[in-house]
Symmetry: C2
DNA sequence: CCGTCGATGACAGTCACTGACATCGACTCT
DNA sequence: AGAGTCGATGTCAGTGACTGTCATCGACGG
């Protein structure tokens, strides 16, 4: 039986993530030490590194979830659709995931954009997403090079739509902005 | 007057870059300490950090040069061309820059692909390139969102063409592969 | 009641990176 | 020539991210 509380407070991982986002927001990423994060979460520095590989990773716990959502949407798409349309399904699925979390996404993004190391980590997460996407397309029978390009293009659309969603007020939805960016990509590349 | 040799051997920066690439190749990036790099270059650890901001940056000295080349090509393009065609000029200019340095590029890329931190750094350099490109397009009168998308798409093409150039033997040129990737991008995005 | 297990604490150690100050050949000015 | 400045480097002490190792102790199964 799980009791409400054992030897320790529950959800150490979540407490660390919350404390980290708060401190990164208050003092800035560089001015925050891991020991401080752990202390605010009622834990020790060593325990922080048992839950997160490094000081940056604590902001990217949702990346795996996002990737899975994306890949699932692509996998479930009808086999007849063109690669970029399939990727678009992934984009809309991702857009849904964020609808309830705008407040959180904004704070998080402000922290990430304020530090180069964090931007690097963000970029490699997006690259990982792109790779997973390309792989999924390949399994659907899309040619290697086409798959890579469709995935890269899709992730580029995601980046730009997300950026605009954060910059825009509450009135725009991520799904709308995704659609607009996608249309724009098509316009840009069709004129050649 | 510059004498052949003053108090120190010349080109400390270059010696550090050479030593770093060698050691990263021999032992791997993580197994190499900055002190070892400095020692091989006949310098001290402190001096390494006077020339390069961190242990990764020593592999990316050419990034600024690449960005300048790219931006210059885009700036010089005829004003009448479509955004993606303008970006394509930058791609071909970049392709030229690498023709003589395939050997070096291969070794460097092998090291980078072997380590996640180095891949992160590579990605942020490409993001910086994309931002510079978008900015240059904007100055040419291209709309904000179109500029970002054209720049992102162009960099995606560069990434994929470069990857294939490294993977392919000597017989393929980067310019050829760039053209192919660009055509493929147009094919993928036009079918929607 | 006993033994195992899993999450955490405690602690020492390595290494990336920084700030402050010393060194010393080159170069300039007179 | 001598004095003073300057720039690139060396030296050294320090911080903080991250790791390996062992100890602790409640939960849980027997």
């Amino acid at each position: 039986m799980m009791r409400a509380m054992g030897r320790w407070e529950p959800d150490a991982r979540g407490r660390l993530a919350k404390a980290a986002l708060e401190l990164y927001g208050e003092r800035g990423y560089e001015q925050t030490t891991v020991a401080e994060i752990a202390k605010r979460a009622g834990l020790t520095e060593r325990t922080f590194f048992r839950h997160y590989a490094d000081k940056r990773e604590v902001l990217f716990a949702g990346a795996v979830e996002l990737e899975n959502l994306f890949v699932a949407a692509v996998t479930d798409a009808p086999g007849s659709e063109a690669p970029l349309d399939v990727v678009a399904r992934g984009l809309y699925a991702a857009a849904e995931m964020f609808t309830d979390r705008r407040e959180f996404a904004c704070r998080r993004q402000a922290v990430i954009m304020g530090n180069a190391e964090l931007r690097e980590r963000e970029l490699i997460k997006l690259a990982s997403l792109s790779a997973a996407l390309a792989d999924t397309l390949r399994r659907r029978g899309v040619a290697e090079s086409t798959a890579s390009l469709a995935a890269e293009a899709g992730v580029a659309v995601f980046k730009i739509a997300f950026e605009r969603w954060i910059a825009a007020g509450e009135e725009r939805t991520l799904a709308e902005l995704t659609r607009e960016s996608l249309d724009e990509l098509r316009a840009v590349t069709s004129a050649g």
